[in-house]
Symmetry: C2
Subunit: 408 residues, 2 copies
Amino acid sequence: MELFFILLVLLVTTRAFGEVAERLGQPGLMGELVAGIALGTFAAQYQDLLPQIAGLSASPVFSTITDLGMFFIMLFAGVELQPSRLVEYSKGALAVAVAGMVVPMALGVGLGYLFLPPGEALLAQSIFLGTALAITAVPATVRILMDLGQMESPSGQIIVSAAVFDDVLSLILLAWLTALIGGEPTSGLMVGTLLFKVVLFFVITGLIGVFLFPLGGRFIGLFKQKEFEFSALLTGALFFSVLAELLELHFIVGAFMAGLFFGRKTIDEAAYRAVRAKTSAMTFGFLAPIFFASVGLHLDFSAFTEIPLFVVVLLVAAFAGKFLGSGLAAKGMGLSWQESAAVGAGMSARGAVELVIADIALKAGLFELGDSPIITHMFSAVVIMAVVTTLATPLLLKWIYGSNGTAQ
Amino acid sequence: MELFFILLVLLVTTRAFGEVAERLGQPGLMGELVAGIALGTFAAQYQDLLPQIAGLSASPVFSTITDLGMFFIMLFAGVELQPSRLVEYSKGALAVAVAGMVVPMALGVGLGYLFLPPGEALLAQSIFLGTALAITAVPATVRILMDLGQMESPSGQIIVSAAVFDDVLSLILLAWLTALIGGEPTSGLMVGTLLFKVVLFFVITGLIGVFLFPLGGRFIGLFKQKEFEFSALLTGALFFSVLAELLELHFIVGAFMAGLFFGRKTIDEAAYRAVRAKTSAMTFGFLAPIFFASVGLHLDFSAFTEIPLFVVVLLVAAFAGKFLGSGLAAKGMGLSWQESAAVGAGMSARGAVELVIADIALKAGLFELGDSPIITHMFSAVVIMAVVTTLATPLLLKWIYGSNGTAQ
């Protein structure tokens, strides 16, 4: 049984690298990502020394652990945020999200038509590149903002709300893309059904969150079992996650919504604080570091050596798309230049969600259609883009916020 | 992705059944076991309704979750107990453990020679029955004592220490049994090497626990990362678990030892309380209920209908062996009749560890050697015995402690 060995190696390495990162004045997440990259590189080089790590990215057991990690990060993000404040910023967030998807999407499709060989798969491959650029990774974004103490700032609230919008929009795109790859006819009806499901999800979770959660909170004291509040929060989050998947959304949206409605209005202040502390321990003390290391573990440098120009162009497009789209939209909503730059930078991290989508495209065979080296190494290029944007986002944000004085 | 659906169904069912159990004045564990049995029976009957549950026992992803459950239960048990008190009771505990293994072992081997057809495999099969009867399941025992509030009572301390001794002894037996099944020559050298490894494990963990843990505790305040104390406890527990497996012990012994040395002497009182609360949430609010349900899920009633006499005799031997062995040893050590009876009952739960050992024998092909119906259904009979003893133990203990007034 190798489970405990793998968890031990990952936990020790991520915490050590995380500590070094914090000593250098950087967020812990950077250390954890670098720990994953270092471990992955080391294990690939010396397969005999660490055979358990080398095959990790493909293990269903390990992806269970990292899924739980994503689940807890999103749940904790929801618990931390106040729904009322999110609603307050939602108009701005929607504009930031839409502009932050349309511009990168256009850049991605343009890149596809510029770099990829013509053929039947060109449309699907270009849409994939567009989707890859349009994504914002909520778990990474949330973690970065927490590390920097900016979750509660206006730009922080806008970034998180917009990232959640973005996530939902990109899942709709993904469903369309999957149909395109499969050669199914994509109709307005399909998109309509999808939109209906998304609306249904938010209506159901909203109604449960607003009416059932406080009702449950009032009766929770009647239960006699140990740790019932913690179980209740998990039950809500698991239920919303299952509902999200049933309605073709990613489970992280469900975990986030459950956390959001579990607030000071649901249970009393002391119970809220206790449950938050417990969720925080499981998240930051155990699963989140392992999750971010797993993102680093997926890195494969082949695109760097085989298609360096494409990688550079993709990276430039990744930052340009979010700065021009989300950043200018934020400016248009009346934020200062500094805050708008922070929004542009904050929306750039693609971390985890990118890997999920690239993986779906990989399994659908999108990178086998055509014999250009760019197509062969596109998966590697997209993963590099995901890791680099996630590493650069906290650096950029720290620099932008830093000119305003201290972070927090 | 079915992970969240399965966790949701198990968490809701176990917490509901657990609440009913507590309302009926029984420990929550009983409700959780029954929840697992009910779910398993229901899923077997209506495979179309709950296909995710029907195949659960064989899923590597699910056994990762239940392994983590066992890990957290043992870790929390260690955190709760005080090493100094365990040492105080260790002489009595050792006698209880040894007598509580020798008597059931003899009964099991006797049963084997009485009921099983003669043949080459008879010795191995009889030793298996003996081992199956000699086991005490530490995670189940610990949970029952905690539910009853008896972890700190003299008999509770003796039961836990003796169960840990028992676990170690049964692992030595198991290694011998595995060699027997494989047809390897079993030599004194092999047993000697095994004993050496076990001693080595306790020496290493003891030295680290006594010297390194307090040293680490003094410097832990210097680290800047969030939730570092919780990570430190997990790191210690993971390291001890890996060490235990390297030295041919079960990982639960490692998790327990790490918890044991993480006490009020390691870090300050406030940090100790915070980390204990966080470990408790993860254990009782999430993983322990799912773990005990999984024990119930393994139940298969075929032995009940096919070899009912053998099942009844096995059950009688299971209780008689522990009452006569452990109970009389406790009386011999000077405990009262009531406390001795509690020790006899408390050592009877075989819950989880039994399943691990039966599974190893199943995979080694022990139940294919010979064509008696008892051999064919022995796996089912042993699982029934494990579940029934685990269900009966809290009932017996409650009855025995109850005659002394309230439980704690």
